[in-house]
Symmetry: C2
Subunit: 386 residues, 2 copies
Amino acid sequence: EDVGASVKNMDDPYGNEPKRHAALKPASKQPFNAEPPLALLADNLITPNELFYVRNHLPVPDVDAKTYELEIFEDTMNKEKILKLNDIKKYPKHSVTATIQCAGNRRSEMIKVKAVKGLSWGQAAIGNAVWSGAKLCDVLKDMGITEETTQALHVQFEGLDTDPTNMPYGSSIQIEKALDPHGDVILAYEMNGEPIPRDHGYPLRVIVPGVVGARNVKWLGRIVLSKEESHAHWQQNDYKGFAPNVDWDTVDFTKSPAIQELPVISAICEPGEGETLKVVNGKIKLRGYAWSGGGRKIVRVDVSADGGKTWQAVDSLESDRTRHPRAWCWTLWQAEIPVHKNQSNIQLCVKAVDSQYNTQPENFENIWNLRGVLANAYHRVNVKIQ
Amino acid sequence: EDVGASVKNMDDPYGNEPKRHAALKPASKQPFNAEPPLALLADNLITPNELFYVRNHLPVPDVDAKTYELEIFEDTMNKEKILKLNDIKKYPKHSVTATIQCAGNRRSEMIKVKAVKGLSWGQAAIGNAVWSGAKLCDVLKDMGITEETTQALHVQFEGLDTDPTNMPYGSSIQIEKALDPHGDVILAYEMNGEPIPRDHGYPLRVIVPGVVGARNVKWLGRIVLSKEESHAHWQQNDYKGFAPNVDWDTVDFTKSPAIQELPVISAICEPGEGETLKVVNGKIKLRGYAWSGGGRKIVRVDVSADGGKTWQAVDSLESDRTRHPRAWCWTLWQAEIPVHKNQSNIQLCVKAVDSQYNTQPENFENIWNLRGVLANAYHRVNVKIQ
Ligand SMILES: [Mo]
Ligand SMILES: [Mo]
């Protein structure tokens, strides 16, 4: 009999985690946080579910879709509604191709300037998927909650994942984003045409396109529309940016706004750091991704093979057809760049430009922050030439 | 008799220009382009009309408000409407505080890297005003033009200012911006509570908040909703960004998108370059502006008194109460920053962070472009310490 193992599992909050793809490289195991190999990320405009980075703050809850309920509460009108999964599926099904990125993506590069607190992510804590479900604004409208009727300023989301004191994961977004039909906020029950996998929020995750992963709350259990932001740790005392001089002795988390839309970023997925490259016809090949939050589209990607002294714009950019300001999908890029054969060690760099013509900072020194978030300086990869 | 002078004026396209404030420093006289003294800019959150930078592409037309007409033509539905100024004034009057900036602001700094084509603007080709008029989306809705009915993708604007071949100034914006009630696009007949001065578009200017000055067409004569962008020079072959390696031999203007929303920027208005400063209580005082296009709000301004080696966040930020993503108004800032008395020459720097957590590039080298636009690197001011 296996009763012992079963009892042991029930005592262990991490005793019932989903199976994961062997290629995912954990940044931490409990809670589970992992990213795919960087080179694989550039293979597909749509990231396969099993290779999508996983960022969990707590143990993965085991939710039964049959008994699942979503509670929506509007605090300024005192309205409440309970929806079962089938109720949510009755609303028009809307699909949006949206890139989600962890605020800590590329933190391992920022760490080189000075230590920070946080998981040591590489460049693959980002992925792109087709999310399908009901538009949050449709559900709210059905409840009589519109710009004209509500005085709420924030939409709080609570997950069904809880800490040892039974506090759920939580965070919030601005009401404007939720009520805007073009904001494309989705109560998603599908990821790339399949029920959302457990690691990504089964049975329901809110998708907030263009906004940091931390607000795309998984295992969504409760929505509260309020004059106040979420009081949860992750909204108030985490996921905020600070000036480089602010340290753990001087930090005042009330002084910075919670991260919502992420800034423009890019990375070289191939070649990898330290690789030796063959030069073909005087050129080497590079590929990678670029993305900007807030629905800004990538309009140009520049690459350098001399550490940023000279640049050329990349010819091949792949994305979907959505336009600014609803360009939620990342851009994959490929480049061939000339190198001098007499060089043996070179530094490759990439920087992207979005449809607001914002671009990336050159180095990490001046954007360093104690939580190691928003690490969007030029990505630099040192390689050897054969 | 003065007939000679009068005839001479009529032959001279620049014979009937408005009077300008003596403090405006011309970057060119025909057409008239001028900016106010930088230190004055930081005196008022609302820039006085007479000190607002002037960026004219052609001679200033002399428009009679009594006979003035605005033509609106929808090309995909073949609808037309002619509005007199009084017709426009019948729509609900909407006021918006919006900063307008020239794409070439701060070009004189970028020039130091390598020559560019364009007027040598300092840091004051930017201003902030309260613009009042009818919402363009209200006028279009009245014509039956909505998201549901139109197939247009662009809104073209033509000015009543013309070149020697009678071609008007023109440019266009995306339809999404024009139809969005929260886009706040205004057919403005007032600037800071007065009829719009001739230099700023009397009697009607379209205000496109968050978008480059070049699309805020003055002396507005015609609006065309179309599947195509404006064919005008200023939309097609000007006001675009390029990679630093692109020169006038290799440039292909079809490869870059027309500049619309401007990226995050900031400047030190006081002290000025080369000034000698008194140190009071170990500190010096700085003030300036920061702004970001696209309705992004300034959330932090960092200053440095050692050329960017160390930074501190500014405590005093002044703006209006509008929230992201409708924060059209700039932010004025003031800082007191400690300096070491044993230094005699120091470099002050400023950089801003907006509500998308985008920040500015460090230097001009990697954002250099042949037209010298989008010059938003850190602003650096060298001063002497007494
Ligand atoms: Mo995250
Ligand atoms: Mo301009």
